[in-house]
Symmetry: C2
Subunit: 374 residues, 2 copies
């Protein structure tokens, strides 16, 4: 297995020019300084990185001045307004020009930067991304994909859509399968990712009509598109090793994601209570500090922060609104790696190939587009 | 706060006749003996309990003979066939007569037992329950409600529907709110339970059209129906203390439930790995055994096993298919407590009251049905 996003970065051409990431400094819950700290952490580990930063320069410049590692590696684009967490996407689509979010996407559109990263309002970011970058050919609904800690050797599964759109018909779900497979292939180094379709049971008769239809068309297209289709999977399979990519509509995926996070938080809290509830518990906790630290590393959600917007003419990464510097760093690292892989071009080619050859009897070895995303 | 299902059992009239629970002995993943062990555990703690057991008497009788506590407290109803885990509900509806599941429901229909408990196929159990017990007046879609470990003082929140039906319109969601409130009031002892509607965000514009409509009609009916409406909640709020009852359609609820279980299982496994990965980890784990045991008690899903079917003329409890004896015991304990509370009659009255007084300006103090489920 090739290592990808979650392991060591895969060998990339050293001749590659410096990678410029476009960062929206505003709109995160914890403020500008956390975003810049995340940039500084990423820059320390990755000398090839430089940044275009968008936001209020009166806030940004003094903080930047204190981070020596960022000297001469950051260009600030001043913007006068900010998209707030509770702004409606429809409002932002009409009035978003001049915001830091808009400006960060514009840099990708103008090819000044390869990937945009924002901690802001997800709905607004997707709406502006669709306006500025436009949907990739053949994609009706873009999707947000995340990495979900799993029992697989690669440590993570891909789940999409986790909230770009509350709807998805069978054709959308098929495109999600193509895009999710491409993300798993490039990001996780899986040559034949296993795709599952999220449902309330694994039997063919379970679930909604659009799932039955999607179940058939995804199965029919699996082989020509270099993935395995495992059929319906259930919520309990999301973190399992039965599947690598879980495909669902954005309503269900969003509820699943937040339910998983909520459950993990509850257990984390109960664990802290168990180890701090009295003096004996606290003393005994000292004996297992190494174990607890090991555990935290294995389930720390900050290590895989970053929802990737798939299906646009450009890569956009949504960092968690409440991300701290470690979370922002993870999102920037993901941006860097996807950029190095030329991921967006590969994904677009894969979707075009998948649509072109849909359900045809087709000899892949004769096609000029064969295996476009490898 | 009155204590309910999850605390000590509330004071019940000692004059009450013996409570008979109807138990489907077949169809669980772990076989008949686990079901009978669960009955024996419950019978040991609750002398008022007796059972009608349905299934293959050649299997049941020898196992029963070894459980002294059950002597003279169990009547076996022999049935020749079993509903399997993968039988389609539509098939079971046509051919289910003569199965242990059918027989266990028939006993409730004939008022020989107050509640039926089965570890079998959920879809089949709901389908047969609708045929034999019929839907309660005013209920178009019955729902399955479960208790979800939470940060609330009562330790659990109610979530419904977790899989009775994959669909729910606004009116169904309103009935779910009424039924969920009644369950929380009776089962958890909350006089004014807080109801939330599951969505992908808390802002009013988020989510699907039926959720917007339900958001309005549930809010309008809250006061006359003795609950508080907190509006939209997200997946992360399910285990929180912001809400007591989470209302959703059965597709979303089922995915959320299984995702929560899957997440908890993954963390549990990682925890075992952290405390067993080498000899040092194992030794240090010995120092915190008490803490780990305390933790397990707080998050052990077997302690709250049992989905309750709401909206039928009779109470049916679905135990987890893979439940062990402790899980089956929990489901039987729940059955006993709901029976003692006269829960099903109170719920029916509450739904009738809620529909009768829907969105009316209404003086509750003058209504003969006022506060029917207290």
């Amino acid at each position: 297995m090739r290592k990808g996003i979650t392991g060591r970065s895969r060998s990339v051409k050293k001749s590659a020019v410096k990678t410029v990431i476009s960062v929206d400094a505003m709109g995160g819950d914890l403020g500008v300084s956390v975003v810049i700290d995340g940039m500084a952490q990423a820059a320390t580990k990755t000398p090839e990185l430089s940044f275009l930063v968008h936001g209020d320069e009166r806030e940004i410049t003094p903080i930047l001045a204190k981070r020596k590692v960022l000297t001469d590696r950051v260009q600030v684009r001043h913007t006068g307004s900010v998209v707030n967490m509770h702004d409606r996407p429809s409002h932002v689509m009409r009035h978003g020009k001049g915001t830091s979010m808009w400006s960060s996407l514009e840099a990708v559109r103008q090819k000044e930067a390869s990937v945009a990263v924002s901690c802001g309002n997800t709905g607004a970011l997707m709406a502006l991304s669709m306006i500025r970058l436009r949907k990739a050919k053949g994609v009706k609904r873009p999707a947000i994909a995340i990495l979900w800690p799993s029992l697989n050797p690669q440590g993570f599964n891909v789940v999409l859509d986790v909230g770009a759109d509350i709807r998805a018909d069978a054709q959308d779900l098929k495109i999600f399968a193509l895009m999710g497979a491409s993300y798993a292939r490039n990001g996780l180094g899986l040559e034949w990712p296993r795709i599952g379709l999220l449902n309330v049971g694994t039997e063919d008769h379970k679930g909604k009509p659009e799932l039955h239809e999607a179940n058939e068309i995804i199965a029919a297209d699996a082989k020509t598109n270099n993935f395995k289709y495992v059929g319906f999977v259930e919520g309990g399979d999301i973190p399992s090793d039965k599947v690598d990519v879980i495909v669902t509509d954005g309503f269900t995926g969003n509820v699943a994601l937040k339910t998983g996070e909520g459950t993990a938080n509850l257990i984390g809290l109960r664990m802290r209570q168990a180890f701090t509830r009295n003096i004996f518990a606290k003393i005994s906790a000292m004996f297992v500090l190494r174990n607890l630290r090991y555990l935290r590393q294995r389930i720390d959600p900050r290590q895989v922060n970053g929802g990737v917007f798939l299906g646009l003419n450009g890569t956009v990464i949504k960092s968690h609104g409440a991300a701290d510097a470690t979370g922002v760093e993870a999102a920037i690292r993901l941006a860097y790696q996807l950029s190095q892989l030329g991921f967006n071009e590969k994904l677009a080619a894969r979707v075009a190939y998948g649509l072109h050859n849909s359900q045809d009897v087709f000899d892949a070895s004769n096609d000029p587009l064969a295996e476009p995303d490898k």
